[in-house]
Symmetry: C2
Subunit: 227 residues, 2 copies
DNA sequence: AGACGTTTGTGAACCCATGCACAAAGTTGA
DNA sequence: TCAACTTTGTGCATGGGTTCACAAACGTCT
């Protein structure tokens, strides 16, 4: 029987989405030599309510000490474990244009838990180029590569029209975790996880709120001008 | 009195987050010459339930025709209006490393509603370089630039340690919508919107689910081996 | 050893979001 | 003109997530 609540219980999606932020903050605190934090302090640092933080952490198990707080190192380790970052995840990036290059050389990549093992692009001008020590290869070689040196996560950094074909190739090779930067909705079979990161969606959401603010200001002015 | 429900009512955040996807799909359909869609068809295309789509759209007003569906062009226009994309939003990017370059030349940027009016970096090696027709300038010039040619949205593409200082500069200049690509939590005064896009958070969430899948497979195997 | 102050972990209440199911409203065809 | 069919818009129930508030648990100090 597994004694680890992280394995027994289901951790809510909303909690999982916050765990990386907790982990990042704990790592920073550890670097600063902080040994222990209360839920109040950590929550303030991360920008959430302390009750939420405690409830989130309770899903992993009981790693706090009442009257004291949480041991920074221990908690960081437990969150790492829950997220599966105690092992390294091999990542492949498909599409080595501007974005692909930026992602490959992104420092956050190498820091913890992730390792780039493959870079792919079908543009002959890019094939053969070496980025962060990995050679760019044509997409057709992905399946063979995956068979020898398994890839856990595929990152799609191609233009939107190519995204579905690339996705099919990744899924066909047996990769079941995909991070999609292309502005396209991917259809995948059950059991495959896709997360999308989309710049223009985020900009549009900001535009909505910006518009709301400027409209509110406008109403304020007209209310003053003609009440 | 305003007759537009988009201005009267509050649109839920969850709905706002989906509107860009609806808009993107509608634009694609319009390009393909499709004139009308039912909620069922559009929902299938986007990957949501039709009831959710209808409820989302109902927050903007009543633009469908019962027994027929939605006029593609009209609906796209109304969503654009709701999001505030009928006008162009001037955007500035701070931090012109790999990511900044990738963002500046990202096609999705120019497509609709957004226009890059400023690129900033304090690295002397980058200042003066021209990207997509805009010259990179030192951050110190931002306030003066904003006073002459207002910036609506600031994008932070710097390393994490610089992010808060850059954010303070943006807010100080009077910019109240910020898109943050740095893995750092920004503290801002009330009235300033910050959205964060973080690669490593997304990867970690994928890792969590990948781990869950591989653990499930492991349990399955051990259940078969020792029932 | 025992009382006091602090902080966790969690039951319970609230709030928002999703999904169902159907009446209202429109179109089409006879 | 009227009946049959289609699809929207929405009231209602359900479920998750967030927040409150407090008892239980721990360290500390006398």
């Amino acid at each position: 029987m597994s004694a680890d609540p992280a394995l027994r219980r289901e951790i809510p999606d909303a909690t999982v989405a916050r765990l990386p932020e907790y982990l990042r903050t704990l790592s920073r605190l550890a670097e600063d030599g902080v040994l222990s934090v209360s839920s109040e302090e950590l929550a303030a640092e991360v920008g959430v309510r302390s009750a939420q933080l405690r409830k989130d952490l309770s899903h992993l198990g009981s790693y706090g000490v009442r009257g004291v707080g949480y041991d920074v190192e221990t908690l960081a380790l437990e969150i790492s474990r829950a997220l599966g970052l105690t092992e390294d995840w091999p990542v492949a990036i498909v599409g080595m244009g501007n974005l692909g290059h930026a992602l490959a050389s992104y420092s956050g990549f190498v820091t913890k838990g992730f390792r780039i093992v493959g870079l792919y692009d079908d543009d002959p001008a890019l094939v053969g180029e070496r980025v962060v020590g990995v050679v760019i290869r044509p997409l057709a070689e992905l399946t063979a590569h995956h068979a020898v040196d398994p890839i856990a996560i595929g990152v799609i950094a191609t233009p939107a029209p190519a995204a579905q074909a690339v996705c099919d190739a990744l899924v066909g090779a047996g990769i079941s975790s995909i991070l999609n930067f292309a502005p396209a909705v991917l259809s995948v079979p059950d059991g495959v996880d896709v997360r999308r990161v989309d710049l223009s969606t985020e900009l549009q959401i900001l535009a909505f709120h910006a518009q709301r603010k400027s409209l509110a200001a406008g109403h304020l002015r007209s209310a003053v001008a003609a009440p």
